[in-house]
Symmetry: D2
Subunit: 309 residues, 4 copies
């Protein structure tokens, strides 16, 4: 990307940030995790990281936020590295058509979650990585991996958020115990969920998150931490399932693979081009960042980065 | 694409056709439509049409087959042209997580089908196009549109197949009547289903289908029959919902938007590059062409056409 | 029952009618069948028929009303007489846990309705009786049977109600077509549903209905039109499934087998003692007569007729 | 009941025991609780206790067995005594149409179980009784109540069975945690489930169980431990929900309110007449004692005790 293109892209980000600042309906901050409920909904950030690491930002891109379910992408990459295709014996690869925390489907399909990005599926992935290890080792590995992706060591787990999430983790424990009943859990539910809530409490800035996603662009010059074939598969899963039962809407509007978190962050990938992170704490009715989704829609429209032509 | 690339692509198609010919497990031909149950499962074809209309083929690419649900893509394009975003009041844009002919979801969501590619959704789309018109006019419009897309007038409806499908259309009628009960049908169910079964009975060769799909590539030189923004949206819907509850698997393996039909055909789009058609009558357990799916997976792996990097 | 008991029972009915007249929240008249939506909700009737035919009444017990789903009891008796236990190959005997017109369960259980009193099950029963006969013959047989039960020939089908119901029968047609798709319908859906809507349009007064139910008491002196063992089974089905997903509540409060209709009628049986009919057009949120349910609860409390001790 | 009737009844029990001894298909012993999987399936017992305590038996009526879910009836009586109708804010009164351990319905209905006899509902009942008390106090109260019902102090909890059940309680924990997530659990899941598995591990002989059920007959001479109105309601709930999704079948065949346990026991009540207990460890496909269900069907046929006339 030459200097002119970069200037134009910077202009697009500035405009997106400007529009977001005007927005009156910013969605609802998630309330079921008390620590997250305290976040100021007026914040907004966007960051685009090019394969070479050049990172353009607008808004509060230096404010750390809780990446929550976006952590599922990094843990999935670790799980695939460790288990390869064996992982797919424990979790499927299809959209669920249901809410992110639904237990219905687990009953219908004998404890095999539909995909690694609904809560049940992510718990199964974490449980698979955990097998035979201590939670702190797994969390250490996750942090090392994310820091390597971002080329930045200043990325941490927020223990207050983890504690807050642990205290209201009943539904996630129910998912884990249900999988245990069906033979699809390898560790005590308390251990797996304890690891899971800490994983979700990783904090990053928008700039860090955008940089961390570059390995998923498969672009020349980007860090190569995972094989190109596996990158494509992770992107496919993000496209199909990354926004829960709003995944269709995100694909329709934004045209990129992406993964949202209940903290209001979204990581989206423009294959071969850039890694994109947005953050706005207010969520839409599907639990995805309201202004964040709109921002990526605008960005792909203005850049022509949609994978759909 | 230069001559060398074309020669290489032709080689890939030849290899795919060769591999398909060796396959022993070819899936099961659909039996619920008696006319389709008669089809010889040993047939296989693949065709790739470049934006300028250059079309490479291998196998039985000149044999007409019943495109069945692939017709839903063309009817959707017509419906969007006529109704624009109003169409989305009657049908959603999310994967369903259920079989193509499920009625469960209609009950849960008050008669609004999850997306335009499950049967209920396609029936709603056809019903929307039909409103105020005669079935023969709508079917005439569909044929004219497909012929224009393919730049080929030798495309027809197979009346035996339509009659065969009509005779076993109970479940589709149930879907239509259920939508009628919920206020989401504008015509008598018999009229809408009559139109629908004829639409599904359109016959094309693989070469024709590949050519017909070029308008969805948004590539320079391809026919521009629909706005680029709408093309992207149709592609997004094909990616998310084009293979029913096997859509995740197709995205994961093939990495392209595509739409399958119970006749064993698949139309897939490599945005900016090519339109691809395959045909092999045997289906996998999700109702998608078994060898056809594998063929597109091989093609994208060999060409690097996956949209996911 | 001696004269004193009869006088006391008459007093109970008078008190029930008096209380009903004071009620301000009378429920909602069903609106989905236009002809029924016109009924004056202020009407109320109760009738108790003793085995010997002595019938005590209070309120509008001489006003004919549409018995609707109560007709399912009589058609079931005819079906069991004709097919015996073979009927149970086509319909189950369990409560559904779902609304009266739900189609969900049909999909889950391959077209076999849960019981003969949800709409799908009643349609299967009517279809079974219809096989090889004309609708008018089946409807004639039904009327003859009901008249014989009531020992009263002045019982008819209201053709305006049938026509009104036919015009809004989409959901019932969907149920029938879905069963056809699963191989559980013997006649064209139009024929079966045509018969079904006429069956539901039988009109009777409360006094007639109470008299017609005596054969279900298995009491000495009551008409014996069905074997005692079969009577017990029909009563069991009414207890378990007679009030749709309000059956548990009716059993809990009233303690008798009963069958409700959307016209606001309920037929309840006190085995060995009496047949009871109530009518009040306003329905509760489960689709059962609101004041009618309360009236039978009061009656069993005052008489000690609960089957539960 | 006079001496002649008693002799006749004794003859019926002997015949039932004789028939059971001949049975070759005895169902399957539950395997998911390891301690129960060891039970000899050849055992069979039946006991009928008359209101005055006279108890007739046949077979292994002096062998203690694990009453399992039959304990739910006694705990429900205690809960209603303590909380009255407030209990119904936490659990419904309708059949579920689903398996005893289903979690589907909890998700659909916001954590309110359908009835007190499915596992989720029974856990909610135990949780309600537990509130503010220690598990050992609640279990002590349960044992005292059952012993008072049976007029027999030799009734205990089998700690090996409880431990065995605790070790495989994942699904019950999932149900409890799911209810906790929906605000319908008052104690830590571990505490409630710990109490629940001990409650299920109560052991009684068939003779003891039959005697313990007399308070549910509302018969003159039987122990009056619960008001007659409440007895009727408990019986109604047993009729509607006592055999999970085989409740309709039990009502149809046996015609009595009853509650089954996965240990192979059934308690059935003939209101005004007798309390009946059977035990045969092999279960049918709905999880209810196979020979036990048949035995009660024969008993009611021979005695005319069906509540349905």
């Amino acid at each position: 990307m030459d200097a002119l293109d970069i200037a134009r892209l910077q202009g697009i980000l500035a405009q997106i940030e400007h529009d977001a600042a005007q927005a009156t309906d910013r969605g609802q901050v998630a309330t079921y995790i008390p620590e997250l409920a305290k976040i100021d909904p007026a914040q907004f950030a966007i960051a685009v990281s090019l394969p070479d690491g050049t990172t353009l930002t607008a808004g509060d891109a230096a404010v750390p936020f809780s990446i929550q379910s976006i952590s599922k992408v990094f843990m999935l990459a670790i799980a695939l590295g460790r288990l390869g295709d064996q992982l797919w014996q424990r979790v499927g690869r299809e959209p669920s058509g249901l809410a992110f925390n639904s237990i219905l489907q687990l009953e219908r399909e004998k404890g095999i979650p539909r995909n690694p990005f609904v809560n049940a599926g992510a718990i199964a992935v974490t449980d698979a990585v955990l097998a035979g290890h201590q939670p702190k080792d797994v969390l250490g590995e996750l942090l090392r991996f994310i820091r390597m992706c971002a080329e930045d060591d200043d990325i941490h787990i927020n223990k207050s958020v983890a504690a807050s999430e642990q205290a209201t983790a009943h539904r996630n424990i129910a998912l884990a115990e249900f999988m245990a009943a069906e033979g699809n859990l390898r560790n005590p539910a308390a251990l797996t969920i304890g690891t899971y809530v800490h994983q979700c409490a990783v904090e990053m800035t928008c700039a860090q998150l955008a940089r961390a996603g570059r390995f998923l662009t498969n672009a020349a010059g980007a860090p190569r931490l995972v094989s190109p074939a596996r990158v494509r598969r992770i992107n496919a899963l993000m496209m199909m399932c990354g926004h829960y039962d709003g995944s269709g809407e995100f694909a329709y509007r934004a045209g990129l693979p992406g993964k949202s978190g209940v903290g209001g962050g979204i990581l989206a990938i423009a294959p071969g081009r850039a890694s994109i992170a947005v953050w706005s704490p207010g969520l839409n009715e599907r639990g995805n960042s309201k202004l964040g989704s709109a921002a990526i829609e605008t960005l792909t429209r203005e850049t022509g980065w949609s994978v759909f032509g």
